[in-house]
């Protein structure tokens, strides 16, 4: 038992690494029941009239892409498939290349035209101050767009948006921390009465239950939430079938990783209590 208590942590690293690699290679899909928060996220987008303008905030960077990217991609598909128009902004400097990459891939599949169906305004510094400014006046926050560095007046989509969030029907934040969804709720949600949805990393998700269903109309919690959402959006979006299968395969990896961690907690406690009893004896 003493040997087990003093086990080299590299054995634990090896166990976790082997588990992840082997199970990921197997690609066995696992499905999940859809919870009400994910269903509400989906339903809120479905309920918007065609042509409505949605602000999509990319508040993440590559470190959290494994959790955020699937839900971000699925949301872009969902919005464009429903013929909703999208304004992209970001309060994280490393996020705009993701936006550009995915819109380059996805927009042509739905025949969307840049400037008419979607615009990319890019990053603005200032964290929650910048969010307040975006709410107050989008056009004074950004002088040009991010894709072509063209004046905003050249983008027909923005002609329908004015100060105080007028013209924008929904805000969706893909949020990995600060600044993110909690700041959008504080700076924009209540003040301009705009409905908000979010997809977040696992560590942020716990805090979101407190805001549902008033300040938040729905949310996706990490890979689990993204997989449930993909199950819903993927039904009518063939382009998402590969991503859905990929995410469902990730659920198997996550399942067994969780079980390994629970097993390690139990084993650690058994070793601890047996060691304590031995010391007493």
């Amino acid at each position: 038992m003493k040997n087990l208590a003093a086990i080299d942590r590299r054995w634990i690293f090896l166990a976790m690494g082997t588990l992840v690699v082997v199970l990921y290679a197997l690609k066995i899909p696992g499905t999940l029941p859809v919870n009400e928060y994910v269903q509400s996220y989906y339903d809120t987008i479905e309920a918007l009239p065609e042509g409505s303008i949605v602000m999509l905030a990319a508040d993440f960077d590559p470190a959290s892409a494994a959790e955020i990217e699937p839900m971000y991609v699925a949301t872009i598909h969902h919005l464009l498939r429903r013929n909703l128009r999208v304004i992209n902004v970001s309060t994280w400097p490393a996020a705009p290349p993701y936006t550009q990459k995915y819109f380059d891939e996805i927009a042509p599949q739905y025949g969307k035209v840049y400037g008419v169906d979607w615009v990319e305004l890019g990053y603005t510094p200032g964290d929650d101050v910048a969010m307040g400014l975006i709410g107050q006046s989008l056009k004074s926050t950004f002088s040009t767009d991010d894709r072509n560095h063209a004046p905003l007046a050249q983008l027909p989509l923005l002609a329908e948006v004015s100060d105080s969030f007028r013209g924008i029907a929904l805000l969706v934040s893909s949020s990995a921390g600060y600044p993110g969804i909690l700041e959008w709720i504080a700076q924009v949600g209540g003040r301009y009465q705009v409905p908000i949805l979010t997809g977040t990393t696992a560590v942020q998700t716990t805090a979101l239950y407190a805001y549902y269903p008033n300040q938040l109309k729905g949310f996706l919690g990490a890979i689990t939430g993204a997989t449930q959402y993909l199950q819903l959006v993927g039904r009518d979006t063939p382009a998402l079938h590969a991503l859905l299968a990929e995410n469902q395969a990730r659920m198997l990896v996550q399942s067994w990783s969780h079980l390994l961690i629970i097993g390690l907690i139990v084993l650690g406690n058994v070793v601890y209590f047996l060691g304590k009893r031995g010391a007493r004896a």
Binding site: G30, A63, A130, G132, A210, I261, I265
Partner: protein, 276 residues
């Protein structure tokens, strides 16, 4: 005066921002509410100043990073190689990023050296390499040829366009894999910590452990299937009632604390931001 002026500025700015939140709407029925133009203008102006200060802080941060690291490199610090890599990488990416953003204003030699040219595939099958400096609804103005002279190409002559970017190449090939690697290490450290640190030493710790295990089981398909859905229901109960009640209490408490601190700052009572 060194003390009074900053306090006065803080009080004025704090009050103006606060008033703009509570100013009556000029059109009470409007959804979303329309703010009175004067308060909207004052609020927007102050937020714009804050945003500029934020951007200046970036520059100060870079300058400070250079100052500290150069000093340590000169002093022969044991990590001087890593510090040099940091400064070279940061400067390199800064130059590439600035060149990418301001390509249309760059002089010819810098443009050719720092920004990869776009390729326009023409409808007659030919190609044209160059830098787009303007677009309209009918044509694209391209700096092309050996002298990079501006040439106007009608849109109907362009079949497709490829835009290689050195900035995006660095982002895709270096930045994304490095950040993803750092974050994925978390799984290994969590596993190690689970074995070494999560001990049921007290009633509170035992409750925390049990709740953690239930949440981990309820989040994943196997946990749900193995318990006949019980783990999922327990997860929903814990998150919806127990956790949310606690979080709401913390949020409300922290917000009231923030409000009190904000009020103290606006009224000039709290002066710790002046290093007092």
């Amino acid at each position: 005066m060194k003390r009074e002026i900053p306090i006065l500025l803080t009080v004025i700015c704090g009050l103006l921002i606060t008033i703009s939140f509570f100013a009556p709407s000029s059109n009470p029925g409007a959804v979303p509410p329309v703010e009175p133009p004067v308060w909207q203008a004052v609020n927007a102006e102050l937020l714009e100043w804050a945003k500029i200060l934020f951007a200046v802080a970036f520059l100060l941060g870079i300058a400070n990073l250079f100052r500290i690291n150069l000093k340590q490199i000169a002093a022969g610090h044991e990590d001087r190689v890593y510090k040099a890599v940091l400064l070279v990488t940061m400067s390199g990416f800064l130059v590439v990023g600035l060149a990418d953003t301001h390509a249309r204003d760059l002089p010819r030699p810098l443009l050719a050296a720092l920004v990869p040219a776009r390729t326009l595939v023409l409808s007659d099958g030919g190609t044209l390499d160059g830098y787009v400096i303007a677009r309209s609804q009918t044509d694209v103005t391209l700096r092309t040829g050996p002298g990079l002279e501006p040439t106007v190409i009608p849109l109907e002559r362009i079949a497709s366009e490829t835009a290689p970017s050195l900035k995006l190449w660095i982002y895709d090939k270096l930045f994304i894999p490095l950040q993803a690697t750092m974050f994925s290490l978390l799984a290994f450290y969590v596993a190690s910590a689970a074995f070494r640190a999560f001990r049921a030493r007290s009633l509170e710790a035992t409750l925390l452990l049990a709740a953690g295990c239930v949440v981990m089981l309820g989040q994943v398909p196997i946990g749900n299937e193995a318990t006949g859905g019980l783990a999922g229901r327990a997860l929903a109960f814990l998150m919806t009632y127990v956790s949310t009640a606690g979080i709401r209490a913390i949020i409300i408490g922290a917000t009231l604390g923030g409000l009190a601190t904000g009020l103290r700052i606006v009224l000039g009572i709290e002066r710790s931001y002046l290093s007092e």
